[in-house]
Amino acid sequence: MSDNFPQVFDARGMRHSIDQFVEGLVTNYADVLETISAPFLHMLVWIEQLLRTAPWWSVVIAVGVIAWLASRRILMALGMALMLCVVGLLGLWDQGMQTLALMIMSTAISVIIGIPVGIMMSRFSWLRRIMLPVLDVMQTMPGFVYLIPVVMLFGLGKIPAIIATVIYAVPPLIRLTDLGIRLVDQDVLEASRAFGANPRQQLFGVQLPLALPNIMAGINQTTMMALSMVVIASMIGARGLGQEVLLGINRLEVGRGLLAGTAIVVLAIIFDRITQAYGKRQTAGGNS
């Protein structure tokens, strides 16, 4: 080990000033941030309550119906409903519903943020030049690093868990929305311009529909990545399946960890199959 790498600037001092900056943020803006995040928290709590208090069979039926709407295949719908039953059979229904609520919320937020940002990136190449490295950083920076400031700002709980999850999960959706729009057949777009379509009509009538398979692939990726964050999210107070895994690790209870892990995988499969089936159907209905 060697300590004599030349010191160009005061890295230690920099660390310090970053710390102070974040602390400053916390003291000055914590209240504001809490007010802003309150509606999201309410919504999450509402979804969670809904899922946890509803009879288990109604949730199972709802998932089956959604799977059917996405795929129009009865077998698929039945399969997905049965998969969800597995979570209950593992004795993890309640935790599963908590995780499901977190997933739904962070996927929704990711879509609300990701698709518009992706659209903007496809429009403005300068924005793309800025965003691409930012997305790289978001995807490669270890989650724990941004957990610290997020926790400092929002405290432990569900909101920081969602923020951390969204930061980690939104990049693929942004990328694929941008890519999907840029890959739209230029001949079709030109035709719509030639008939006098305005930018809004071009976007909603041509670009987004034709990019939909890619966007759905992005949403699929986003849900997968969000699920892989649940354990980390549980470290900052999001309860659910992640917490079970964490307990398993802490107490060296392999069984507990394994069952919770299995339940996470099951949820992942459900999300994956449903979003993929929807994306595929979009592709098949349109161009061959």
């Binding site: 030639a194 008939f195 006098g196 529909p209």
Partner: protein, 395 residues
């Protein structure tokens, strides 16, 4: 009145076209421009005037700038310099909104690669222009259905584009363009992707539609036969420059240079040129009322063996010197009863058909106009010259 007029259009592709415009105006070649500063000259100093109600054909080899030019008419491509006037209005001055309205109302376009919306049914595709115009569903569907029927696609309304053959997709594109009722129709190699049979059919359909609708059509093609068949006027582009512009006959009979000539090589001249191109000059005509003595006098003056005889304007027959002499000997008042029959062909008969008549008959062939009026005699030597020109002839 000219419907579309463009003046001095220049188009440079590259990062900073304005900067290099002067060089292009000074006549720098396309290759040199590309080597010097990486800009491509798309169009150089194009001025054209397109008559209302005509079919204007743009021809040229691949890369000669045809697509670039046609996209200037509705400003899908912005010129680097020059003016575009439609109905006397300067299209270059239109703001974003007005340009959108202009594209919705005044011009519609058919594309070489169709440009259909893959996620919409054939019906919705045909109705697309109307939807953009903001028309209600009922009107859209009525009109789209009507035009799909017109192009022979009744019954396919609920299909999706990928379920149709190329030719059928092209018809959807045509229906979509016609449905908007725009006065100007831009067609960029609209028939190139089709096989010869369907292509021919589509050409006929276009001509039939044009006879009914009287639109102004700008039509791009690679194919001279198609150009000659459809075009009232033809413009030929080479490397972004206008090489020649004129009627099909102009182009065929007086090609401006070797480039144009090279297009003409394989064309079926016998189909394009008609009897009206091969008339002999200075005809003597008699009427059924002409007195035999007068007739003989005229024939001898002009040193003719025979002459056409008209009744009013209509051709009645032909009279020979021998018949006139017989009429005179008989003491007839006029030559009406001494006529021989004559074979005639309409002026718009293709020369290859005329050639058939020529081979079958030794008698002179008369050429008649639309209402059967006498236009002139067919010149045998001109026919053979036109059908297979000698090398000097084509210079």
């Amino acid at each position: 009145m000219s419907k579309i007029e463009i003046r001095g259009i220049y188009k440079l592709f590259g990062d900073d076209p304005e900067k290099h415009l002067e060089q292009a105006k000074a006549g720098m070649s396309k290759e040199q421009m590309l080597a010097d500063n990486g800009h491509t000259i798309g169009l150089r100093d194009i001025s054209l005037s397109i008559e209302a109600g005509s079919i204007f054909v743009i021809m040229g080899l691949s890369g000669s700038g045809k697509s670039t030019l046609i996209r200037h008419f509705n400003r899908l491509i912005e010129p680097t310099a020059g003016e575009i006037l439609v109905d006397g209005q300067n299209v270059m001055e239109l703001g974003t909104r007005d340009l959108e309205t202009f594209r919705q109302q005044t011009m519609s376009m058919v594309f070489q690669r169709f440009g259909l919306l893959p996620h919409h049914s054939v019906l919705d595709n045909a109705a697309y222009g109307l939807k953009i115009q903001g028309k209600g569903r009922k009107e859209r569907e009525e009109k789209a259905t009507h035009w799909l029927e017109q192009v022979g696609l009744a019954g396919f309304e609920q299909q999706f584009p990928h379920q149709l053959s190329g030719g059928m997709q092209q018809r959807v594109g045509l229906a979509r363009a016609l449905a908007t009722d725009a006065e100007i129709l831009l067609m960029d190699e609209a028939f190139s992707a089709l096989d010869p049979l369907i292509r021919r059919e589509m050409q006929d359909q276009l001509l039939a539609l044009q006879a009914k609708l009287n639109k102004t059509i700008v039509f791009i093609t690679h194919d001279l036969d198609e150009a000659l068949r459809l075009g009232n006027r033809i413009a030929i582009l080479k490397d972004g420059e206008l090489v020649q512009e004129g009627t099909p006959e102009d182009i065929l009979l007086h090609p401006a240079n070797d480039y144009v000539q090279s297009f003409l090589q394989d064309v079926n001249r016998g189909k394009v040129l008609t009897a009206s191109h091969a008339l002999s000059r200075g005809s003597l005509t008699l009427t059924t009322r002409t007195q035999p003595a007068k007739a003989l006098q005229l024939l001898q003056d002009k040193a003719r063996d025979y002459a056409p005889v008209l009744d009013g304007k209509a051709l009645r027959g032909v009279i020979t010197v021998a018949s006139v002499q017989k009429a005179q000997a008989d003491g007839a008042r006029d030559i009406a009863n001494y006529l021989d029959d004559v074979t005639s062909v309409p002026a718009d008969t293709g020369l290859d058909e005329v050639l058939g008549h020529m081979l079958r008959e030794q008698q002179p062939l008369a050429v008649t106009g639309e209402n059967g009026e006498f236009v002139g005699w067919l010149s045998r030597s001109k026919v053979s010259e036109l059908v297979s020109p000698t090398p000097e002839e084509s210079q």
